[in-house]
Amino acid sequence: MKTLEQLLAEHPFFSGLAPDHLKLFAGCAVTLRVDSGEFLFREGELARSFFVVRHGSIAITSVTPQEGLVTIQTLDEGDILGWSWLLPPYRWHFGARALEPAALISLDATCVRTKCEHDHEFGYEIMRRFAQVMASRLEATHLQLMNVYESRT
């Protein structure tokens, strides 16, 4: 069976990470399986962890008065899920629900934040990688809002 360090090293988010930094992450990690329809977290709850998607598909959801629960994005193998744990007030802005049975790695937020405070190089590396994820999600969200498929030019 693979160790947590090996599992993390296989994931694109952690690719090229120094072995001692991988070890720091692995110390905060546990594997997790969820069934189809199960919520990983709901909007407004405390963000106690973030997740690495190994297999399966996860819907990022929001509740709207008109439509109820809507999916605003889906994530799957190779994606990273959640950054509300990084910044106060550490509450989820959206929910996350498995669309099919999924395998993940859960990283404990307090554990990772504490390690970031103690080892700023490690903290910088995390911030840099999350900034990249956030920038590409923001770009994708802009395109979704622009209704690109129906625009003329």
Partner: protein, 287 residues
């Protein structure tokens, strides 16, 4: 005696501008605003070959003429298939045509998708909204000679599940083991179990080798720009990215200059271009 060269050219041009009458053999409603017309020639012998990516000028009698790409199988010469989204004056009236109705047609015109040049390589087709229609003939041609290509990937994005074109065909394509089909929508209804997110987000994980892939992109130009950027980020050289451009057209054959942008005639030099050639034009508004 032969006519003077300028007279011969003018006659050929005038001939090129004359639509032939075609019959509507079948109408299919694809979505709330998009429909497919299957056309057969009114005059026997008018059948014509076309290459994937080419378009016809369709004339709705008494209303006007618009360029519409051919969306059918290039091996079928006995009929011409067009899939159109009703957006304005001509296309709205066209959407009301019934089986047995008549339409004017001239073409096919324009440059094709470079399907032959993609042989021996991975092929990535990226479509947005109505953009799946002009790409479909390229996919037919590729599937017809599937063994000549390596991985074939179709990435398709629409606004909502209700805007997805050719649903049954997509299901059949998805079931094939030699074709990777990924569909995504901007906004999923509660019953939607597929991907949600813009089509550009599918590029990074799609199964192709960026050093040996050819990409065809068809959709609105904003989508083309962001998709080309994602492909480039993945390592695909822009010379291997081909796009289909849309500009308002009148003659469709390089005479009137209506579709011209910085010396490029979209009707004659395009509509399919290597992205490296037109990257600067894709950001320009029409004048």
């Amino acid at each position: 005696m032969n006519p003077a060269p300028e007279i011969a050219t003018a006659t050929a041009a005038a001939d090129g501008m004359l639509p032939e009458v075609w019959r509507v053999d079948r109408v299919r409603r694809e979505t709330h605003d998009t429909f497919t017309l299957e056309l057969g020639p009114e005059r026997p012998g008018s059948e014509r070959a076309f290459e994937p990516g080419q378009f016809n000028m369709l004339y709705v009698f008494g209303v006007g003429e618009v360029p519409i790409s051919i969306s059918g199988d290039p091996r079928r010469r006995d009929r011409v298939v067009h899939t159109t989204r009703a957006v304005g004056r001509v296309t709205n009236v066209m959407s009301g045509l019934k089986t047995g109705g008549r339409i004017g047609l001239r073409g096919p015109y324009g440059t094709p998708w470079p399907v032959a040049a993609a042989q021996g390589r991975d092929v990535v087709l990226v479509a947005g909204g109505i953009g799946l229609a002009p790409l479909r003939p390229a996919l037919y041609a590729i599937l017809h000679r599937r063994n000549d290509f390596r991985n074939v990937v179709l990435l398709y994005g629409t606004r909502s599940p209700g805007d997805i074109l050719f649903r049954q065909e997509l299901e059949r394509w998805r079931a094939r083991f030699d074709l990777d089909v990924h569909v995504t929508v901007d906004r999923g209804a509660p019953s939607w179990k597929g991907n949600v997110g813009v089509v550009t987000t599918l590029v990074q994980k799609a199964p192709f080798d960026p050093r040996n892939a050819v990409a065809f992109i068809c959709g609105p130009e904003v989508m083309i720009r962001f998709t080309a950027a994602e492909l480039q980020r993945r390592g695909v050289p822009l010379d291997d990215v081909h796009i289909s451009m849309e500009r308002n057209m009148k003659c469709g054959i390089g005479l009137c200059g209506h579709c011209q942008l910085a010396g490029v005639f979209v009707c004659r030099d395009g509509p399919v271009f290597p992205y490296s050639r037109v990257a600067d034009l894709v950001t320009q508004w029409e004048v």
